[in-house]
Symmetry: C2
Subunit: 351 residues, 2 copies
């Protein structure tokens, strides 16, 4: 029989910190660019359109000797049943033997690696002096996007937060977010005094709910969209030269967060060409004939490796279409497993 | 946090018996025919061609309120590392909420459900009076094919066993198989005296190693091929009218066990049209232009439901191309989970 480790969400929350997840996600992107990582075709199924779906993302990281998958389901009516809407499970296996290494709760891993992607988009594609982040969306993902951006962008002094349906929700979000971020930093860096101090300071900034999205878009240096929108929330005319935009919401057909015409003007990067074109933010722009897949300058890993320049001038608009790829989850999960082994955390079972 | 049950191989061996697995696999086939089951696209990856690969098969059974997946890897060099070559893991989730139900060792489930498929092929497509089974292949799957066929075909009196590479291996297999089958029956039906007696009697038959495959093919009523062959082992000219053939070996591109010309003459059934045409025994026949996918009369579930006649005369040659589908694993795994819950078997962990 084969032993493997089961790690629940609480243990994962104790183990992961944003700085290290950003490192792991950068590594995932660069391994992909170096052809030491492969994404397998994504499996997607709608149980009931608009109400319940699931996907299985899987891949192989030669560079880390692991392969595996993440199955994530979304059941809109779960709240009534006292269950989370999103439930995810990550399975990591050894790619030298096929033996299972671990099974992990997928929710916090997804939040952290998706946040990390936003931070990485800003790090490589925004102007380094960027001071103003506009976050579109106040959902579960919002605090992770802010924490990651503050981690990679040391000059950010203001975060504007927009909720397309309700100003009140943006207001409520802004009232609580600083405390939440400070708590996240305190928890994540509990044994690392210097880092905790650094990131605690980064959180001492202004959080402002957005009333006028047009005006705020014009003022922002970095825009991150993290919604489940199916209609663009950011218009082309509002986006000023020099802005960087990361879109993290679009991960299935029909989702769209920004004006598709922006792709015709921007310098465009993606995490994975196949996913971006088929289910990402680029999907609509391509389907409408605004651009072809050739508009993609490169996958972000090429930029991290220095093979392809990211932003080339202070006036360019840059876009990072982050669809979320399995190898981000797998490397993050593998980090959790390494740490859990050292700590003796989780439950070892045999299969 | 969400609780789920982890079940290891030993516990699965204690819980499953062939008669019930055959029922479950029949149910999987009929639910598919009734559109109460969906197979998701298969993911396949070769780590090193001919040396190591893996696949992820997944699907949804509306009729049983579950969805899930099986990841199976094959590492040819694992034997040197004291690890099994084939390692499989099945994950079952609730299709009403997305919550995980269980994680199970996939090896014994695969052996049992693949054996069951062979028994079901014979049950619905062989002549009921069939007395002589020819089993091609002496590998891990062989005892399960025999046990399943003896379970569904009460008149079988002789099992001939062929190993294409070595008569000695077939001989060695035949010397031990009866004892092995009796042990399987004793273990599987330990609490069910009547069934144990019935199937113990069914094992009191002749097991004969095959020297002359042409001659034995001519004499057999039922042929089951369970090998990893890439060249046909059974020639068209040898197969007599009235024979039934089930092919279980072909599950990826390039595998082939029987003469592709047989498909032009036989009444052909499959477990899943898509898989059969792309990775099953039919693949080569279609690629060579011998037949088109139209040669498939129906999926086997239609026959079990009585919607499509199986064998129509004592002279027909019938073929069942069993590629192995995820919903067989999922229903079998779900049976294990139901029983394990009753027995308090396995380990409950939280994720």
């Amino acid at each position: 029989m084969l032993p493997f480790r089961v790690i629940n969400q609480k243990t994962i929350e104790q183990i992961l910190d944003m700085a290290r997840v950003i490192e792991k996600v950068e590594q995932a992107y660069t391994l992909k660019a170096q052809k030491e990582a492969t994404l397998f075709p994504m499996v997607f199924h709608e149980f009931e359109p608009g109400k319940a779906d699931m996907d299985i993302k899987s891949g192989h990281l030669t560079g880390a000797n692991i392969f595996g998958l993440k199955v994530v389901s979304w059941f809109g009516e779960n709240t009534e049943k006292n269950l989370p809407q999103l439930i995810g499970t990550v399975m990591v296996l050894d790619s030298r033997t096929g033996a299972p290494r671990g099974i992990l709760s997928g929710e916090h891993i997804t939040c952290m690696r998706t946040g990390a992607a936003g931070g990485i988009g800003a790090k490589y594609l925004a102007r380094p002096e960027s001071e103003h982040l506009l976050l579109v969306g106040t959902g579960h993902q919002a605090p992770f996007q802010i924490l990651a951006t503050l981690t990679t962008m040391e000059n950010v002094k203001k975060v504007s937060v927009y909720n397309a349906r309700s100003y009140e929700r943006a207001q409520a979000f802004c009232e609580k977010i600083q405390e939440k971020l400070l708590q996240m930093v305190a928890d994540q860096y509990s044994g690392q005094d210097e880092l905790r101090e650094t990131y605690t300071k980064r959180c001492q900034i202004e959080f402002v709910p957005v009333e006028n999205i047009e005006q705020t878009t014009k003022e922002a240096d970095i825009i991150i969209t993290a919604t489940s929108a199916r209609q663009p929330l950011i218009k082309r005319e509002w986006v000023q030269p020099g802005t960087h935009i990361t879109c993290v919401g679009a991960d299935m057909e029909g989702k769209q967060e920004i004006d598709e015409r922006l792709f015709a003007e921007a310098r465009v990067f993606v995490d994975d060409v196949t996913q971006s074109v088929s289910v990402g933010e680029l999907e609509t722009a391509i389907k409408k004939g605004i651009v072809t897949p050739d508009v993609i300058v490169a996958e972000i890993g090429e930029v991290i490796l220095g093979r392809v320049p990211g932003r080339q001038s202070a006036e360019e608009i840059t876009i990072f279409d982050s669809t979320g790829i399995a190898i981000q989850d797998l490397l993050t999960a593998n980090l959790v497993l390494d740490e859990a082994e050292k700590l003796g955390a989780g439950t070892v079972v045999e299969i």
